[in-house]
């Protein structure tokens, strides 16, 4: 459903991605592992149209979407949850959610459905719905970022380090959310520092090094064989 083919990307003059190729099938959770600075976040941004690839192609739903504007990609069913969450700080929780709800094809019934669903997953957000985004704690902001992405009814969520800086209790909750989204048929491309979490929720895992994908394996195989993990991630 989503594929990156030999994608090269630059920040200014520095060459960050040196030909990344990966694929996510419909409804599949795929992990993207690698040390800091190997280009995992840049890969997600490039897929989302925020970094323009110098070479290569992004294919989504059988269509070449390389160079398509970010807001159009969001309408096509790609959602991005960035690692720093990027909640709109002066918008309330409700208004943050509205940024994804106010679009063509969302009638009253559907709005209510979508809201009911996220408030069931994240009851805390319902309590804080009139609070400004900036007043939420880190964990609450992460929930809001995921909830906001869900408002778009995406086919795939690009999830960038969802557990970064969260308490262990929250990490468990994020894991549950990923499972629930998968059961709902939403595909996820997960960038994560926590290897155990990634291996637990993913079907397949890609391992990146220096701007390229070095290794691909089903998650169960990696769980059984930690030599690969040690080699690329040094843990």
């Amino acid at each position: 459903m989503l594929a990156a083919r030999d994608v090269h990307a630059f920040y200014g003059k520095s060459h960050i991605l040196h030909g990344v190729s990966l694929e996510v099938r419909a409804g599949e959770v795929v992990g993207l592992l690698g040390r800091n600075g190997v280009g995992k976040s840049t890969t997600l941004k490039t897929i989302m149209g925020l970094v323009r690839p110098a070479r290569g192609a992004i294919v989504f739903d059988g269509r070449d979407v390389t160079g398509v504007a970010t807001h159009r990609l969001a309408r096509l069913g790609l959602a991005w949850v960035p690692e720093d969450r990027r909640i709109f700080p002066s918008l309330s929780v409700w208004e943050n959610l509205r940024t994804g709800l106010d679009r063509a094809g969302v009638g009253h019934a559907k709005r209510a459905d979508l809201l009911e669903k996220v408030f069931r997953y994240f009851p805390l957000l319902a309590e804080r719905r009139y609070q400004a985004g900036r007043t939420l704690s880190g964990g609450e902001q992460q929930m809001l970022a995921i909830a906001r992405a869900m408002m778009l009814e995406p086919k795939i969520i690009l999830l960038d380090e969802p557990t970064e800086g969260l308490m262990p209790r929250m990490v468990g909750q994020i894991r549950e959310i990923i499972e629930t989204l998968r059961q709902d048929g939403v595909a996820i491309l997960l960038v994560e520092q926590s290897v155990p979490l990634t291996l637990a929720v993913s079907a397949r895992v890609y391992i990146m090094e220096k701007g390229v994908v070095r290794h691909e394996a089903p998650a169960p195989a990696l769980r059984a064989d930690d030599a690969v993990i040690r080699r690329y991630l040094g843990v």
Partner: protein
């Protein structure tokens, strides 16, 4: 007392001009040097409608709509291609634009100031002095327009899009908000507000091609005040982060 009233009326007009300017600056990071010219052209469009026999209120409406469209055209042609470039580029572009518009007005309407007839000529007595009703109307209308803008930003879908874009345009785009269109709309809206204030203020001063620049300087000062006046909206909050 009269001075106080005059101050209030002038302040309201400046606030109206400045809120358009602030809207554009806060959301697009564009210092619009041509804002005063949009204000002036708005007043001129008003005089044209009046000369054609239209009423003052029609002039106000037509001027706002005309400058809204002109603003969209200007944004598409000069500012959109400069998005993401050095701020100096947009300053130069809008400064150049202001010269072009000023000279266009001189060429089209000539150097003689024109008068907009006020819709109310009545006076009322206050502290043994006569004060024109029209000035009171200006202040009230300006306040009403700003209140409408505030409600629009607070509640309407487009208002939320505008605020989201101001706070983080990358994330706004990732949420499917058509950011380029929001920029165009904001520039047009700011222009329409300037045009409305041009027509409203026209009866108090003559309309000539230097109406814009003179008001721009005072508008600039008022902007800094208005930036902090607008509640819970874009301009006062943290600057939007660029994609990186």
């Amino acid at each position: 007392m009269i001075q106080l009233l005059n101050g209030l009326v002038n302040g309201m007009i400046l606030a109206l001009v400045a809120s358009g300017l602030t809207l554009i600056f806060g959301i697009m990071d564009v210092v619009n040097f041509a804002h005063g010219e949009l204000y002036m052209l708005g007043a001129y469009v008003g005089t044209t409608v009046l000369a054609a026999g239209g009423s003052f209120w029609l002039a106000l409406g037509v001027a706002s709509v005309t400058i809204f469209c002109l603003g969209a055209a200007i944004q598409l042609v000069t500012l959109r291609p400069l998005l993401g470039r050095d701020p100096l580029a947009t300053i130069l572009a809008t400064f150049g634009l202001s010269l072009v518009l000023q000279n266009y007005a001189l060429w089209q309407y000539g150097p003689v100031a024109r008068k907009i007839q006020e819709p109310f000529t009545g006076h009322f007595r206050i502290f043994q002095l006569e004060y024109p009703w029209y000035r009171i109307i200006i202040a009230v209308l300006s306040a009403a327009i700003m209140l409408a803008l505030w409600l629009f930003l607070k509640r309407a879908t487009w208002g939320i899009w505008i605020r989201a874009t101001a706070q983080d345009r990358t994330m706004a785009a990732a949420m499917g908000i058509p950011v380029p269109l929001v920029h165009t709309a904001v520039f047009s809206l700011g222009g329409a507000m300037a045009a409305a204030s041009g027509v409203l203020y026209g009866p108090l001063v003559g309309v000539d091609q230097t109406l814009g620049p003179g008001s721009w300087w005072s508008g600039g000062w008022a902007t800094s005040a208005a930036r902090c006046w607008r509640p819970s909206s874009s301009a006062c909050s943290s600057r939007s982060r660029r994609s990186g």
